[in-house]
């Protein structure tokens, strides 16, 4: 088990290194020169050249990468060209908002997703199943920024149930969480239902029934425990997407999370901030993949205890 984890951690570091290389390369060939934007309309060719020299942007790309990587290993992500604040500080602040938004919408997604999935599986082919699944497919199909705008107008402005923007306390996160969470609740519901149906065809379910156990015990202890493994995979990647993909929701509800920070940073070509941000997000994704692996081992003893089945 420990070897399994150590190998995964090494692989994860390799992935992060690869992503940092790709990002650095891409950011350098993306058109648009940050200094040009900084100086704005007052830029004259020689001031642009002078500022580029001071910021070291005239050195060859690989040299820039090396000293950036060197600093990164020492925890110094450099400072933003425009906001003049250390990148790490900006990331931490905006990550705080994204974490709150992500955790609310993820909690919503998991609870509703699992509940709908189990209900649909238990009442397979009855109207409950059909209604829930159409809702689930609907949830996946709606563009979340469009849903966000409508929620904002209906529940925010006209009904005044929830504040329409900002991020002061819990109530500010309700509408964004619904807008962001529906899609992931839908995907978790679908995978839970299919996995539960798949599991209910297995032999050990028949053994459980033959033992005369009560229905909900069969559903929860036998069916759900086994159905959990594929659900964890999907739930893991969804968490990754929520943490990185909520920029549209953040811009509509004015929550200055990491998504919005990144979009603005790319807009301004704030290279250190984008580079730092992508590393941060990649780090989160990789950590999530690790957690998913650990969860596999927790749920499935075959992985935890290794050994595998006998050779016949």
């Amino acid at each position: 088990m420990v070897n399994f984890l150590v190998r995964r951690v090494l692989q994860a570091l390799g992935v992060i290194l690869a992503i940092s290389l790709i990002t650095f390369f891409i950011l350098n060939i993306v058109p648009g020169d940050p200094v040009q934007i900084m100086l704005g309309d007052l830029a004259t060719p020689e001031t642009v050249a002078q500022v580029r020299a001071q910021m070291g942007l005239d050195k060859p790309v690989w040299l820039q990468y090396l000293n950036w990587a060197g600093n990164m290993l020492r925890g110094d992500f450099g400072s933003s060209y425009f906001q003049h604040r250390p990148v790490m500080e900006l990331l931490l602040v905006s990550f705080g908002y994204t974490i709150r938004l992500a955790s609310f919408s993820y909690l919503l997604a998991v609870t509703i997703g699992l509940a709908f999935g189990i209900l649909a599986a238990v009442f397979h082919n009855k109207w409950v199943d059909k209604v829930l699944m159409v809702l689930a497919v609907g949830g996946i199909s709606a563009p979340n920024f469009w849903v966000a705008i409508i929620l904002q107008i209906v529940f925010g402005l006209t009904l005044k149930w929830f504040p329409i923007s900002g991020a002061k306390d819990f109530s500010y996160y309700v509408l964004p969480a619904i807008a962001l969470g529906t899609r992931y609740a839908a995907s978790i519901a679908r995978i839970t239902r299919n996995s539960m149906l798949e599991v209910s065809k297995q032999d050990y379910m028949r053994t459980a029934e033959a033992k005369g156990l009560r229905d909900w015990l069969i559903v929860m202890r036998h069916a759900f425990r086994n159905a959990l493994i594929p659900v964890i995979t999907v739930a893991g990647t969804d968490l990754g997407n929520i943490l990185t993909g909520s920029m549209l929701i953040e811009s509509v509800f004015q929550i200055s999370g990491i998504g919005k920070l990144m979009v603005d940073a790319i807009g301004q070509r704030d290279l250190p901030l984008v580079q730092g941000g992508v590393m941060y997000i990649a780090f989160i994704c990789v950590v999530i993949y690790l957690i998913v692996d650990i969860l596999y081992a927790v749920v499935d003893p075959r992985i935890r205890l290794g050994g595998g089945t006998r050779s016949e």
Partner: protein
């Protein structure tokens, strides 16, 4: 028999290294096939019987080089098959074919029966016109009792028995010298099993085929084989002419095996030798004779030394310290 036997298997071994630890260092070896040797004359059938995990299927695939052997040689018509590469290997492969156990998994679900059967002649381009190909396929289908109208159907439209016939037709469309049958009838019902066995014997008569018949069912092996080998944990425990093996089994494992088969009324009933415990894991086989931990007649020497396969009778070899060498006995 002056010229060389069709197939000579000499000290065939297949070891799997078990990968554990951080950088998958080899931390142990599984001896799936451990020093197997036997000969097979043309037109003859040798049966290989043994329980799950004894390595009989692995041995079959290693002979065909589906799995590359770790050591040992396979001589086909005197030619060293294990050393062949490229076109020479491709030509040699025409002589040996394989038929499988699971009728549902051995046919490509998205190919028509015509293409499945015709695959071997397609690969070797042994026909000049398409019509020649169709005729050959039709001929082989009739030979294996398949209805020609079904030539363009797909595997999922056939019963288990018919699918096994398609597998056989595929194997003989390009007449081989040897067919390795890996548990061909284990998944079939008794009545269908009988038809397939009769078909295999008929083909052997007509085409002069020789078989290596692998199965865990002792009565089927006895019926179809000329000589029978008993395998346990990768080792050949006993190899003999079928009459002398079934009438007078020398190796304790063979005795226990034969006694454990539920008998029909009227068959000679031996007192049951119940073996205790389970087959040990091939990852760490017992020292000395691999059967000594479960053998009712285990002696101290059995735990130290691995018994050689010695001749103990006319065409009867046994690997057990109990059996004296043939010279001494007669």
């Amino acid at each position: 028999m002056s010229q060389a036997p069709l197939l000579q298997v000499e000290h065939l071994k297949k070891y799997y290294s078990m990968k554990t630890g951080l950088f998958s260092r080899a931390a142990g070896v599984v001896k799936a096939v451990d020093d197997i040797s036997f000969q097979l004359e043309s037109g003859q059938t040798i049966g290989i019987v043994g329980e799950s995990g004894c390595g009989k299927s692995t041995m079959g695939k290693t002979i065909l080089r589906l799995i590359e052997p770790t050591a040992g040689k396979v001589l086909l018509d005197g030619e060293d098959f294990t050393a062949l590469q490229g076109d020479a290997l491709k030509r040699a492969r025409r002589k040996m074919k394989l038929i499988f156990q699971d009728p549902y998994a051995s046919l490509n679900p998205r190919m028509t029966v015509r293409d499945i059967i015709g695959e071997n002649i397609d690969i070797d381009r042994t026909y000049s016109t398409r019509q020649e190909r169709e005729d050959r396929i039709a001929e082989v289908m009739e030979q294996t009792g398949l209805n020609l109208d079904y030539m363009d159907r797909y595997p999922h439209e056939f019963s288990g028995g018919q699918r096994q016939r398609i597998g056989i037709a595929r194997a003989i469309v390009l007449p081989p010298r040897l067919i390795i049958c890996d548990e061909p009838v284990s998944a079939l019902d008794v009545s269908i099993q009988a038809k397939i066995i009769n078909l295999l014997k008929a083909l052997q008569r007509d085409m002069g085929l020789s078989y290596i018949f692998i199965s865990h069912d002792l009565s089927v092996v006895k019926h179809i084989s000329d000589r029978v080998g008993v395998m346990y944990l990768g080792h050949m425990m006993e190899l003999a002419d079928k009459r002398s093996l079934y009438a007078n089994p020398m190796n304790p494992y063979t005795q226990a095996l034969i006694s454990a088969v539920p008998k029909l009324p009227g068959e000679t009933v031996r007192e049951k030798i119940a073996l205790s415990g389970d087959v040990p894991s091939p990852a760490n086989p017992p020292s000395g004779c691999c059967f000594h931990t479960r053998c009712p007649h285990a002696m101290p020497i059995c735990a130290q030394e691995q018994p050689e396969l010695k001749q103990v009778g006319e065409d009867h070899f046994c690997a057990c310290h109990l059996c004296k060498a043939c010279a001494a006995a007669s």
